[in-house]
């Protein structure tokens, strides 16, 4: 009988359960697949994206308003062949331009509604500050709105109240100076800066001294 085998015959290696490792081929393959599909997917979607960034208006702006940065919001929209009618984000900066017609909140900013910077304000329009008593102006009075300016002769003395008179129709509100911030907090009146045609300035200024002024909102602008 032989001794304990000196050179023992070999046995096949046991197929043992492997500890999960990060350097697993299947794991790497899986990660690669996911990453490839993410890259390819995003590229396909990006290639199919036909939208462009166009300016929209944040709130109602009447004709004559000068655009400021906070009035504008970029929106991604798909315009197709009419894209040239609207102002794209990458185009000329619209800040400082004046609107030649009113634009409602959320509307795309048409190229045709814009005038060059300062054009209207410098040539035809004048800015006049009008003191308006509390409760004599619309509560949503804000820049860009159109208002009619009425004066009531004798209305502040309490005697012989006259017939209210339209001083200036469709004046553009350039800004609203709240008494609380500007005039030491009396709260009795506010100053409203209006843009009016140069020809109407004299009538407006004269009218302000005849009695209390009311600003009436022009709807639909």
């Amino acid at each position: 009988m032989p001794d304990v085998a000196v050179v023992p015959p070999t046995s096949a290696p046991a197929n043992r359960q492997q500890r999960p490792r990060w350097r697993d081929t299947r794991l790497l393959l899986g990660v690669l697949l996911v990453m490839t599909s993410v890259v390819v997917g995003s590229r396909v979607v990006a290639a199919a994206d036909r939208t462009e960034q166009v300016w929209t208006v944040a709130h109602d702006l009447a004709a004559g308003s000068t655009l400021e940065g906070e009035d504008l919001l970029p929106r991604a929209v798909r315009l197709g062949s009419v894209g040239a009618n609207y102002l794209r984000v990458g185009d000329a900066d619209p800040v400082g331009s004046t609107l030649v017609r009113g634009v409602a909140a959320g509307d795309l900013l048409p190229v045709a509604a814009l005038q060059g910077p300062g054009a209207a304000a410098s040539s035809q329009q004048r800015q006049v500050t009008v003191p308006v008593g509390t409760f004599h102006y619309p509560n949503d009075l804000a820049r860009g709105r159109l208002v009619d300016v009425y004066v009531t002769p004798g209305g502040d003395t309490g005697s012989a109240v006259g017939v209210p008179e339209l001083l200036v129709p469709r004046a553009l509100v350039v800004s609203v100076e709240d008494a609380g911030t500007r005039f030491g907090g009396t709260g009795a009146s506010i100053g409203v800066v209006l843009a009016v045609p140069a020809a109407d300035v004299a009538a407006l200024v004269a009218g302000l001294h005849r009695g209390p002024v009311d600003l009436v909102r022009v709807a639909g602008e």
Partner: protein
């Protein structure tokens, strides 16, 4: 022996060309031998053997389904088995010896039946036909043989398989060629503990080879799987209901071969030591506890693993006498596993030492402290304790035990 003083023999030569001449020779010269029956196949032979009409069975190498199990059954009915090969067929002769037939004759077709009858008579002359000891493979007499370590434990989960796998791993780490075998016929778990994914049972394959008489060192190595050089595993049956695949005689043959393959063979045994054949009428039926009893009987050293809680401890103490009876002359070492304060109280080791000495007469127990964290980690990744937690105290104790076994 028959009353007439002649030896009654059963012939099962499966129609070999030397059968007729042998019969004629035996009939012409009615000496001591008397043919009781010519059996047509193995079933016929086993039935005739069970009837108890003969004391010698002469089987041919051509007899179908003749295996170690059949030879074992013939031996247990009290028959002396003689094998006959066609001519000087060395391979067939070796196979017959491998399945447990000690006496193999070569039937030379040219010299006729007389020569065979004479050699048969001569072979029976030397042996007492009534004695069964002639059966079985001759024990290798010379050379250094590997040793067999059986790991037993009472019912429950004292950690038999864990101790067996860890000790086998430690033995292999001491540069000792080791085979770990799972002979648990109730809850085989070595493959699971080691994270081995092969479904086939290595031990069952080796047993099949042994049963067919084709098991040698190379075949055993083929059945085993190498965890790494120096440590092989023979996994157990894949489901407990496949326990009949581990019959005792073939398993004993596997252990004999394993001693030639490895310096240490570590056998994970089942818990049950009952000899249920005492209860059964059909003595030829396979025995579920046969695998454990065979392994214990073959062992040089037995580790008796018990858990360190009152229930497990009591089971161990009650089981030790039974174990010593089954293990024969083997050295029995007691391993108390999962030692902790919880169920024992303060100073658990001192208490266990005292109790073991008092109730079981054990003086040199080995204590393995409970290390749940390391054990859980080993279990989770299917590795032995030393592979995941070489610094664990439990591992150090088992390494010391392995070193102790190697040094003798």
């Amino acid at each position: 022996m028959s009353p007439s003083g002649r030896v009654p023999i059963l012939l099962a030569l499966a129609g070999a060309p030397y059968e007729e001449p042998l019969l004629a020779a035996l009939g012409l010269a009615p000496g001591r031998l008397h043919v009781v029956r010519r059996c047509v196949d193995l079933t016929d032979l086993l039935a005739a053997a069970a009837a108890g009409t003969a004391t010698v069975a002469v089987v041919g190498s051509r007899l179908g389904r003749l295996d170690a199990d059949a030879v074992d059954r013939l031996g247990r009915t009290g028959l002396f088995v003689v094998g006959v090969t066609d001519g000087a067929d060395l391979v067939a002769s070796q196979q017959l010896r491998a399945i447990g037939i000690g006496t193999v004759l070569a039937a030379d077709a040219s010299s006729g039946g007389t020569a065979l009858a004479d050699s048969l008579a001569a072979a029976l002359e030397g042996a007492d036909p009534g004695e069964v000891v002639g059966n079985g493979e001759p024990e290798p007499s010379s050379g250094r043989l590997g040793r067999l370590l059986a790991v037993w434990g009472p019912i429950g989960a004292p950690g038999r398989s864990t101790v067996a796998t860890c000790v086998a791993d430690e033995l292999a780490r001491l540069q000792v060629e080791t085979v770990l075998a799972d002979a648990d016929t109730y809850g085989p778990s070595v493959a699971q503990l080691l994270g081995i994914r092969d479904e086939a049972s290595g031990l069952a394959a080796a047993v099949r080879e042994a049963n067919a008489g084709t098991l040698d060192v190379a075949a055993l190595a083929r059945c085993a799987r190498a965890l790494r050089p120096g440590l092989r595993v023979l996994t157990g049956v894949t489901r407990p209901d496949r326990w009949p695949e581990l019959p005792s005689p073939a398993l004993a043959s596997v252990w004999r071969t394993s001693r030639l393959l490895a310096v240490w063979t570590v056998v994970d045994c089942g818990f049950c030591l009952e000899q249920d054949e005492d209860l059964a009428y059909d003595t030829a039926a396979p025995l579920r506890n046969g695998a454990t009893l065979t392994s214990l009987a073959a062992a040089d050293v037995v580790l008796a693993v018990g858990s360190a809680d009152p229930v497990g401890f009591q089971r161990l103490v009650r089981g030790l006498p039974e174990l010593r009876a089954a293990a024969g002359s083997a050295q029995v070492r007691v391993v108390i596993n999962q030692v902790r304060r919880g169920p024992v109280g303060r100073n658990p080791e001192r208490r266990l030492v005292e109790s073991l000495e008092r109730y079981a007469g054990v003086t040199d127990p080995v204590f393995v402290l409970q290390d749940n964290q390391a054990a859980d980690r080993a279990m989770a990744v299917g590795r032995t304790l030393v592979e995941v937690a070489p610094g664990s105290s439990a591992r150090e104790v088992l390494a010391g035990l392995a070193a102790n076994l190697v040094s003798g």
